[in-house]
Assembly symmetry: D2
Homo-oligomer: 292 residues x 4
């Protein structure tokens, strides 16, 4: 398929490369051009603007940092909305608000363009090695049409609904589930340290009890207090928690555990941890127990 | 080894049977005698009182419902403390408070008896099939002496410290980790139902993301709203949460997520869910979102 | 002083009337003109647009429902920013976000106009009877220049800082303090009802203990469960709580009690209480205790 | 009336003195005898044991630190239960658990003795100056019989029910209401300090808005950070919060704000604040905002 890809950060580069590996014709754009050039060797063509990407693509995927960046690329000068041909598809893979997903669906629809949300679970190494989980939502025929693209970037594609924002809701709730695990580890480790049980001892038990790589990996990060370099920065964890709480407000569904997590992220921000890994939110529980 | 076993409920029966299978000489006691008789065919001898169990045992394991039951059996008339020979060992496998674990260690010590905590993770079927995780703590030589007993009842033994109460702290924190998962599922499912994403859809993603049997099994129970018969009754979940919060108070380590879980268990109690599975605590999040 | 007044709802009408009573020349504007006409008998002149108000005023006060309304009136077509003479002053009395207060200060400043925040505490009857508390912030000379206006509408004026957004922060935190009282009453009443102590009995004690009209009045509303008609609608209470939490995020100062209040407002929204008085948030605690 | 008084700490001494001033014949006991002797000049007689107090009294009031102290004096050797004549009355004014209040009612009843709960609101200076609020509960005729005693020690007596434990529930919920105020101040002050609004500025507004001595006094203590000497020690505040949560559990009425307060008291304990005034719990919010 002729596909555009905009946003070649640590996640996007791997995703674009896997599209190329799967045999798609890929035109790329990135604000700092050198990241785009880096994909030429893999077969990508480089465009000068988002609009230039659109003019030659059936579908354009975006993988950007936050709502603001997506709004700029979608609705700014030389943006996607201004240039995407009628019937062509914008697929937003970024972790954005459900409000923005709805606006994208509405604005593209108004222009005769089509829109899907396709956010992903996984870190940069998973993006590179095609191990992402892809959460797709949008009109069934459009999703099916794009399935080869989703399958090219991930190990499994989950279609969760016909309204694109449903994929964003699932993505945000998934990140919330992971953050809940971080918080639970933080509290248990802090209490146990005061009982003179070391975190690695508890981790051994939990790794076996849950049998989950997520528990094993994050449990170790936290036990080791290895929060730099960040795999996923705490300020982004705070952003995602804000987004899930915004969604909770729109759905009128209280999420008190998400509120607790948000408050702890804020305390971590106040202690200068914005650029540490989000698992360092567990330092808040430790501090509140008077540790270190 | 000559070992006694007191408390033959759904957990204890399986544990005692596995001690017999491993070749130990087992004397059993249960308040309602028929459960003890049921083990005779497997080679157990039945005693009339806890004291009678103790008089012929090097080690006595207890698996009882709560602090009160353990206190009765340990310190009541014809109880363990009154009859256990000097040097013999009481191993409490029940999920009890750290305060009681300390009292047991102190009282047995005063009498020249020895004490270990050996609480377990796993449901009755895991007890039967020798798949429990055993958390052991106490003086290192005593733990090593009893290792054959631990190995006989579980698939893995974790020695977490030399103070018996440390095993209870680990057990309580482990249950807290599971309860945190329940709460997270409850909030996410409720929000997503209002977004018209079904719980089974979200469960598919989470099962893959976490790759954990705990997530798969509890996630399904909750999605199916199959809360009866209870695998683990909600009132016991509340009890364990109370115990972890008591521990948190003793350690001066706040556990706000445990507090949140406790409050939701209380709301579930107020809605008549005491005997449903503890995963039904997720109905609180659903109700607070106005669902059903 | 020649003063404009925009926004003649239940609060604004009383405030504008008190400006007239104090001898100021007042030009008024309201989206639905009849509310403006109603003030003619008191001496007001009616303008056709916000811009028309500005052209003849040294200072223009706005008293509107929320950020959106203020943005429309300030920056929309025929809005204040487009028409306010250089050196003239916009005083926003609405309960708005600190972010919007900052934007107003910046945008007016860029145009050579001046800006103050002057939010108020008090209900419509207090606005009518000149019993509001006025919270003012902005450059000291501008605040002093406008003090006669503040003194005309309230019983006391508190100058809380030189950055206008500080007044908004104080107003939002004040509403949070009241909401905290509501939540505390809700929880205590629910527990005591289950102890068969009636809310009015507890209220008698609390009225005496705190000696506060806020406690006496809200305590009675809640004990009587008299939530309609709303003195202050629950959806507005939710809005203000959202704003205080946004402020908390900007300041990196966790407010877990505000988070709890927000979650309970959401639950109330989910149960159809948007247009009841915000004190009906206490029904959430009652429901969670299984009452009614 | 012939009345006994046991427990002559900072609260009890003032209360006993006011009984004497009202013309009652008072026999006193205190563990450290010199505090009892100090009342001889006011007309008190000193007894050597609680039992000796009982033998000459129609009613015996106790004002002790906690459940443990009350249990000792009521049920210990030479305790009240062993010596109080049939028909005589034990009035417990201490802040104790509802469980202990029930046990006192049952045990005294079994012995043909009578029991009332009569906890009080007020600090030592209020006890001295007869300004306490007295919360009384028990059988109506017994309460009426003892009303002269209640009226002698306080400025107002509230009869809240016929089950003594109801008075304890009201007392615990009242302390919770005050603690909620502390928490609200803590969070607001912390956020506002980061907005560069000083706590005294906010306090001015809140004092006027709430018009409550509780707000004015505690608000100033917290703004001044004057936490020593303690008017009411933080570890006692934690105890009372534990008791209100125990009551909440018995009533199956979740009190999430009480849970939040408990967690913050625990954090304060972990930071060595046990003997500071309980209003120093507000330092937890400040620390979580990265202040100081």
């Amino acid at each position: 398929m002729k596909v555009g890809f905009i946003g070649l950060g640590r996640m996007g580069s791997g995703m674009a490369r896997n599209l190329l590996r799967a045999g798609h014709e890929v035109v790329v754009f990135n604000r700092s051009r050198e990241k785009a050039e880096a994909l030429v060797a893999d077969g990508a063509r480089v465009a000068d603007t988002p609009a230039a990407v659109c003019s030659v693509s059936e579908a354009v995927m975006t993988m950007l940092a936050d709502d603001h960046a997506v709004e700029q690329v979608a609705f700014g000068e030389n943006g996607i909305a201004s240039a995407l041909p009628a019937g062509a598809i914008h697929i937003s893979c970024s972790t954005i608000s459900i409000a923005l997903a709805r606006r994208l669906a509405a604005e593209h629809g108004r222009r005769g363009q089509r829109y899907l949300s396709g956010p992903v679970f996984g870190r940069p190494d998973a993006a590179e090695s095609k191990k992402l989980l892809v959460i797709a939502a949008g009109p069934a025929d459009v999703v099916e049409h794009c399935r080869p693209l989703f399958d090219a970037i991930g190990r499994q594609t989950f279609v969760v609904g016909s309204d694109p924002s449903q994929a964003n809701a699932v993505k945000l709730c998934g990140n919330f589930m992971i953050a809940a695990t971080l918080e639970a580890f933080g509290e248990a480790y802090a209490a146990l340290r005061k009982a003179e049980v070391g975190p690695h001892t508890f981790l051994d038990v939990m790794s076996t009890l849950f049998g989950s790589p997520v528990y094993a990996n994050y449990g170790r990060l936290i036990a080791d207090e290895k929060f730099e370099p960040a795999g996923f920065a705490l300020r982004l964890g705070l952003k995602d928690t804000r987004l899930v709480l915004e969604a909770a407000e729109e759905y009128a569904a209280p999420m008190p555990l998400a509120s607790l997590i948000r408050d702890n992220f804020l305390s971590a921000m106040a202690h200068g941890q914005a650029d540490q890994d989000w698992s360092s939110v567990t330092r808040v529980a430790a501090r509140n127990a008077g540790l270190k």
